[in-house]
């Protein structure tokens, strides 16, 4: 039986963490992640979890302590946002390289500067190549569900990679929503007892983590990481299906919303997908063939499934909530464009950068986007393939 709760995204994440009850959590506060860890610290203080909470002096230390605990064989978690993620970047890369199945909620916030505390995806897009699996969440329900699934994905023997569960700062993290949470005993059974592949605490089988790895073997270890990423999509899908059996909510790599016969397609990640769905319902009622491709799993990038889902569209708008400075388009746009190469798609493809620093995106913006797509489909490939939503021009 499930429980209906009214929770913010941060509280939903803390609720998932309470139920997972990891062995070790190390964290440092940063807006908008602060309330997440504040809530989890309350669970620790109230004796509701057995987790060892390590309050460190920076995010670099938070990830270092998490890596140390994970190497010791503990189920370990942390959480952060924006500049905090940037500060821990060195160790974020190491966590993936050591194949430690850490799960980290990241509450998306714009990277400084100038300093800004509101949502965009520059933080997690900035570390899309660190070797972490990345799951983007549309609302508080998905925050909760994704964190519970992330534990199983990360710890899958064929994967053993850390997982970032991202959700939009303030828009999701500080907004109360109704969601369905599982009972404690069901979650305890779902996550199970953690059986680490290696543990530094096994004195009968002493081993070394993190030795020098030079010209002779570093390359081979990177190849192994690439292989783990190739195994990950099947694990994400399998666990998404199993999770559906206990929750009634099944998850895939991508979500196809009114996509089967869609001629005009918007591609987005995170909370904007919710806004887009409302617009699509409205436009569908007017007979427009519009749809949404929601990317839930951005790393690994489900290239084949995405290409299959949108290759017949007449025009596609890719919404990027971050900038890849100097590159021909935002990070999502570039990968969509690459995924379509060789599919025979003749779709007009346009990139919209939006929502930087928490700039609101409205239903009208998305309606305008679909209207643009109709024009683009009529006139062929757009000459201006990079556009902006909500920017004063």
């Amino acid at each position: 039986m499930s429980r209906r709760l009214i929770l913010t995204g941060n509280d939903a994440a803390a609720e998932a963490m309470r139920q997972i009850d990891p062995d070790v959590v190390a964290a440092f506060p940063i807006t908008p992640q602060t309330e997440l860890m504040h809530k989890f610290a309350e669970h620790v203080a109230d004796g509701e979890v057995k987790a060892e909470l390590v309050l460190v002096e920076s995010e670099h230390s938070a990830m270092s302590a998490t890596v140390g605990a994970a190497a010791a064989g503990a189920r370990s978690m942390t959480a952060t946002s924006a500049n905090g993620l940037a500060l821990m970047w060195e160790i974020v890369y190491i966590a993936a390289s050591y194949r430690l199945p850490i799960v980290m909620p990241v509450v998306n916030r714009a990277l400084s500067g100038p300093i800004n505390i509101h949502c965009d995806h520059s933080d997690t897009m900035g570390c899309r190549d660190t070797g972490w699996i990345q799951l983007y969440s549309e609302n508080a329900q998905e925050v909760y569900d994704n964190i519970l699934q992330a534990i199983r994905i990360a710890e899958s023997p064929e994967v053993l990679l850390p997982v970032m569960v991202t959700f939009d700062g303030f828009i999701i993290s500080h907004t109360a929503e109704v969601l369905e949470a599982l009972e404690d005993d069901i979650v305890t059974k779902w996550v199970g007892e953690y059986d680490p592949k290696y543990t530094l605490l096994d004195t009968d089988n002493p081993m070394t983590f993190g030795p020098l790895d030079l010209q002779d073997y570093y390359f081979e270890h990177k190849r192994q990481q690439m292989e783990a990423m190739r195994e990950a999509p099947a694990a994400v899908k399998k666990i998404g299906k199993l999770y559906g059996e206990i929750s009634g909510r099944q998850y895939e790599l991508i979500e196809r919303y009114q996509l089967d016969d869609a001629e005009f397609v918007v591609v987005a990640l995170g909370s904007t997908c919710g806004t887009a769905k409302v617009v699509i319902d409205e436009l569908r009622a007017q007979g427009k063939k519009v749809g949404l491709l929601k990317i839930r799993c951005f790393r690994p990038f489900p290239e084949t499934e995405i290409a299959e889902a949108i290759k017949n569209a007449k025009a596609i708008a890719v919404l990027d909530r971050s900038v890849s400075f100097g590159a021909p388009g935002g990070p999502v746009h570039k990968e969509i464009k690459a995924a379509l190469f060789g599919t025979g798609s003749t779709a007009g493809l346009v990139n919209y950068v939006y929502g930087l620093g928490g700039r609101d995106i409205s239903m009208d913006h998305i309606k305008q986007t679909f209207a643009d797509l109709e024009t683009i489909a009529d006139s062929g490939t757009p000459t201006d393939s990079l556009r902006f939503l909500g920017l004063r021009e």
């Binding site: 390289s97 050591y98 194949r99 430690l100 053993l160 592949k197 290696y198 089988n205 002493p206 081993m207 070394t208 983590f209 993190g210 030795p211 790895d213 002779d216 073997y217 390359f219 081979e220 270890h221 190849r223 192994q224 292989e227 783990a228």
Partner: protein, 99 residues
């Protein structure tokens, strides 16, 4: 030693076999080589205590030589050697090799 492929090695750079640094020869970086003079050595074993690479070879409480496959030539043994003249002397590898 044949170098292994990516499917043959533990993941994440983990080393599962304790003490296998012994198989990794680090002596090739050396600039200075320690030369041991058995005749002046008093077998005090200060060099054995101080060597950071466990490269002083001993047997039954007496020094028997230097493991040049692992000695990196730091010279601590020669510095610590208490006898005069020293029983360990550091010489440039190039000079030793060129005779």
């Amino acid at each position: 030693m044949r170098e292994k492929t990516w499917t043959e090695i533990p993941i994440g750079g983990a080393i599962e076999e304790a003490g296998n640094a012994d198989a990794y020869e680090t002596g090739s970086w050396r600039t200075y080589r320690p030369l041991w003079n058995e005749e002046t050595c008093i077998h005090c074993l200060r060099c054995w205590v101080a060597c950071p690479d466990s490269s002083i070879l001993i047997s039954e409480g007496k020094m028997t030589g230097i493991d040049l496959e692992h000695c990196k030539g730091c010279g601590i043994c020669a510095f610590e050697c208490p006898v005069d003249p020293k029983a360990i002397e550091m010489k440039l590898e190039t000079d030793v090799k060129n005779g």
